[in-house]
């Protein structure tokens, strides 16, 4: 029996409305429990105790992430750590190696991460990288928004067939949720085109982004999956795109979540910072964070993650193929593109968010404004769309900006075009400082609920997995901004499902890492099985039998979430 008692910490757990009370947390055999008999006692006096954090959207494993690693040797230059004891060597800043990815998340108190875009044909690759990422539990979202099956079924409004296909694909790819990236636009990119508005027709397929999004919401709720659809909308990154974003969010109106996982939202719109821009060109570029945040505040059945800009040199990567081409035309840096037959595409381009460039400054402001204008932090989650707006290793710096107006003011002063950043945004007028309770909502309870995993993660209720982080941070003391960043950069203690991972700041174990996937059961659907058989015969370049991910060498420690969607 492995038992631990974390004594006298300041505990923050929104799932139990615990807001900094001094309490003990007990762990027994991987779970949080009420009490323990003969525990190993850890004194957390004067420290902050929270559940392990969840990242609802990060690009950490798979083909495009590895393109980033492989085509950016300069990202590793003078940034490597040698093998030490049981720890493997680490390398890379914006696209770290799988080992550094696992270690770096653990050091920040993160215990669960979702890979945000898995091309189904490359599912094996995604799972191999997940396997080699130590400590953290991971799941991956297969992309559906440009998938030929989906486009053809939804053109005819065949929701049940769409659902049956989703069920099949989640199973054969060992996927976790339904991801959409630039719906329709990425298929258009197959011809070098794009869909910028939700009403733009998709070439040949005679369907619009709007129809794809609504259809997939309906199919997702038909199945009752743990997570809602996870949407990267059209027209990302362009001045004036906030109207497209509002058009997109409105598509969720009238839908109600149907599932047994305690999820209330039907649409999660990701990295909404990139979708909240005003202006007509870069010269009059401005923040429309308020307009977008206000809508999200009103509309209770949608959630968002932010995609904070961290002002670093980073590597952008997305299944939004046309956007990356657009970006390389802007910054003239190296461009990788990877179109995937029948399914999706991807692009990768290095990018420098420079404090000397006015647009970068406004993007930084937009991200923070979205969060600071949000009223329900359970529906507004902390991400950097790693590595697109910045590396996930900057989360502690983002927390510093969110928790300290002083920190924000210092950064605003540091901008070269400080005045213009201020005039094109509202960041300078905001005095809100997030509390640790709100931080716990943004990074723990909120994402766990939206992912449909609140029965496992996101809190310290007895019965939940014992993922516990202890930070050397005393909420009753005054803190300089940089002390906030320092404290959340490096947990003092971390448990993953009850296993001590970090003790006194040192990583001591690779833990018992799991791969999460969702296995929906649906009625027999001969037509969909026929369509699958037919497409593999005619259009895929691998056979149907060589498509499914099977075997321990891909997923040594699976955790399957069963969903019964039979009627």
């Amino acid at each position: 029996m492995s038992e631990y008692l974390i004594k006298n910490g300041f505990v923050f757990d929104p799932t139990q409305k615990i807001n900094g009370d001094v309490k003990d947390v007990a762990i027994q055999d991987g779970k949080i429990v009420d009490k323990v008999a003969k525990p190993k006692v850890i004194d957390a006096k004067g420290m902050t105790v929270m559940a392990g954090a969840l990242d609802i959207h990060a690009h950490v494993a798979g083909p495009k992430v590895n393109i980033g690693r492989i085509f950016r040797p300069e990202d590793k230059l003078f940034n490597e750590t040698p093998r030490k004891g049981m720890m493997r060597s680490e390398g890379g800043f914006s696209i770290p190696t799988t080992y550094r990815t696992g270690y770096a998340y653990a050091r920040m108190g993160y215990t669960t991460v979702m890979e945000a875009a898995m091309p189904p044909l490359f599912a094996r690759h995604v799972h191999e990288e997940i396997r080699d990422t130590p400590i953290i539990d991971e799941g991956a979202y297969p992309v559906f928004g440009n998938n030929w099956f989906v486009l053809e079924y939804l053109k005819n409004r065949e929701i049940e067939n769409t659902a049956a296909y989703i069920a099949w694909l989640l199973r054969v790819t060992r996927g976790f949720a339904v991801k959409l990236v630039n719906p329709g636009g990425t298929e258009a990119w197959g011809w070098g085109l794009n869909c910028l508005q939700v009403t733009d027709p998709v070439p040949y397929f005679d369907i619009t982004p709007e129809e794809i999004i609504k259809g997939l919401i309906e199919a997702n709720e038909y199945l009752g999956l743990p997570h809602s659809i996870h949407l990267h909308g059209n027209n990302l990154g362009n001045p004036g795109n906030y109207t497209t974003t509002l058009d997109t969010l409105k598509l969720a109106e009238g839908y109600k979540a149907k599932n047994n996982f305690g999820r209330d939202v039907v649409m999660h719109h990701t990295h909404i910072q990139f979708h909240s821009y005003g202006g007509t060109k870069w010269a009059d570029f401005e923040s429309k964070a308020k307009e977008v945040a206000d809508y999200v505040n009103r509309q209770k059945n949608i959630s968002i993650d932010v995609g904070f800009v961290t002002l670093d040199e980073t590597t952008t990567m997305t299944a939004d193929g046309p956007f990356e081409h657009h970006l390389t035309e802007l910054n003239h840096l190296k461009w990788a593109n990877a179109d995937v037959e029948l399914e999706t595409a991807a692009g990768v381009v290095p990018y420098i968010y420079s404090p000397d460039i006015f647009v970068s400054g406004v993007q930084w402001a937009v991200g923070l404004e979205i969060a600071l204008f949000s009223k329900d932090m359970m529906r507004c989650h902390l991400t950097t769309d790693h590595p697109n707006a910045g590396p996930f290793t900057r989360y502690p710096r983002v927390l510093k900006w969110l928790m300290s107006q002083k920190a924000r003011d210092e950064q605003i002063k540091a901008f070269k075009a400080s005045d213009k950043v201020v005039s094109q945004s509202q960041i300078a007028e905001i005095d809100r400082e997030l509390t640790l309770f709100e931080v716990a909502q943004m990074t723990r309870a909120g994402p766990a609920k939206v992912l449909g995993l609140s029965h496992m993660y996101g809190g310290l209720k007895p019965g939940l997995d014992a993922d516990v982080a202890v930070y050397d941070f005393n909420p009753e003391k005054e803190h300089k901004p940089d002390e906030i960043e320092k404290a959340f950069s490096h947990v003092k203690f971390l448990w993953k499902t009850g296993t001590p991972i970090i003790t006194d700041g040192e990583i001591i174990s690779h833990g018992n890492k799991r791969t999460l996937w969702v296995n929906p059961k649906v009625n027999e659907n001969p037509q969909v099985m026929r369509d699958i058989h037919d497409k593999f015969l005619k259009f895929y370049t691998v056979t149907e039998k060589n498509y499914e991910v099977t075997g321990k060498h891909f997923i040594p420690n699976p955790f399957v979430i069963e969903v019964d969607a039979t009627r």
Partner: protein, 267 residues
């Protein structure tokens, strides 16, 4: 300025990584402390003292520290890597990465240097009395930011890929250059070749200048003759034919003028 002298007393089996031979690392250290610094032979860590007798002592700062390497240095990699100030004199030849990523100070090699000398150079001065290997003053793999500033002078010949992704600074070559001079150069770099160059000169060049005294064996098809100009180049007054290119590349505008890579061939 104080001088530290390194006299080789043993040769490594493999190449020896001596990134600690730099005024920045020596500054403020006694001979004993310097002899205790680490050098690497493959996976094996040794002390400097195992391979060098260390004489003299360093100045308080890099700027007033001078390092002299006597004897055979042909198996020493990374001499003066990332140095910011001070001086290094090598009395014979060196291996790869001499002065790689150097930011300031001066390195003088009386013999030859092997490949990747002054990779990603940000400033300072590198003097080579003999020949230089491939990728002199080039960018590190994948980096679009090559040589930024500083001066490199080579009395002899240089290998291929000199000034790869060069953004600034000056390289002056007394002898001949092998293929691929200033490929992908952009910005204000300047390369002067007193001898001749082979093919692929200025390929994919967006900006910068190349001066060649002794001719090019095969010109890039994407360079266009503009006009003749009289110039004084590194003390030589002469008439040059000006070519601009690489016309296959994108070219930014400066003050309404399209900026090209400039290739001057001496008559």
């Amino acid at each position: 300025m104080q001088t530290v002298t390194l006299i080789p007393i043993a040769q490594p089996g493999l190449r020896l990584e001596v990134d600690n031979i730099s005024p920045d690392k020596f500054a403020g250290k006694t001979a004993e402390q310097i002899a205790a610094l680490h050098v690497y032979e493959g996976n094996t860590q040794h002390t400097m003292g195992k391979f060098f007798r260390v004489e003299g002592e360093s100045g308080a700062t890099a700027a007033d520290t001078r390092i002299v390497i006597k004897g055979d240095a042909t198996r020493l990699k990374y001499i003066g890597m990332r140095m910011t100030a001070g001086e290094i004199l090598v009395e014979n030849s060196t291996d790869m990465y001499t002065g790689a990523w150097m930011q300031g100070g001066k390195i003088h090699v009386k013999g030859n240097v092997d490949a990747f000398a002054a990779t990603g150079m940000k400033g300072g001065e590198l003097l080579i009395d003999g020949n230089a290997g491939n990728y002199l003053g080039a960018a590190y793999r994948g980096d679009w930011r090559g040589m930024q500033s500083g001066t490199i002078r080579v009395a002899g010949n240089v290998g291929s890929d000199m000034g790869y992704f060069m953004n600034g600074g000056t390289i002056i070559v007394g002898g001949n250059a092998d293929v691929h001079v200033a490929t992908h150069a952009e910005g204000n770099g300047k390369i002067i070749i007193k001898g001749s160059a082979k093919s692929k000169v200025g390929g994919q060049m967006v900006g910068g200048e190349i001066y060649i005294f002794g001719g090019v064996d095969v010109m890039m098809p994407t360079y266009v003759y503009r006009r003749d100009v009289d110039l004084e180049v590194d003390g030589t007054k002469a008439k040059f034919a000006l070519f601009e290119g690489d016309t296959a590349e994108r070219h930014p505008k400066r003050k309404g003028e399209v900026v090209y890579g400039k290739l001057y061939l001496k008559y």
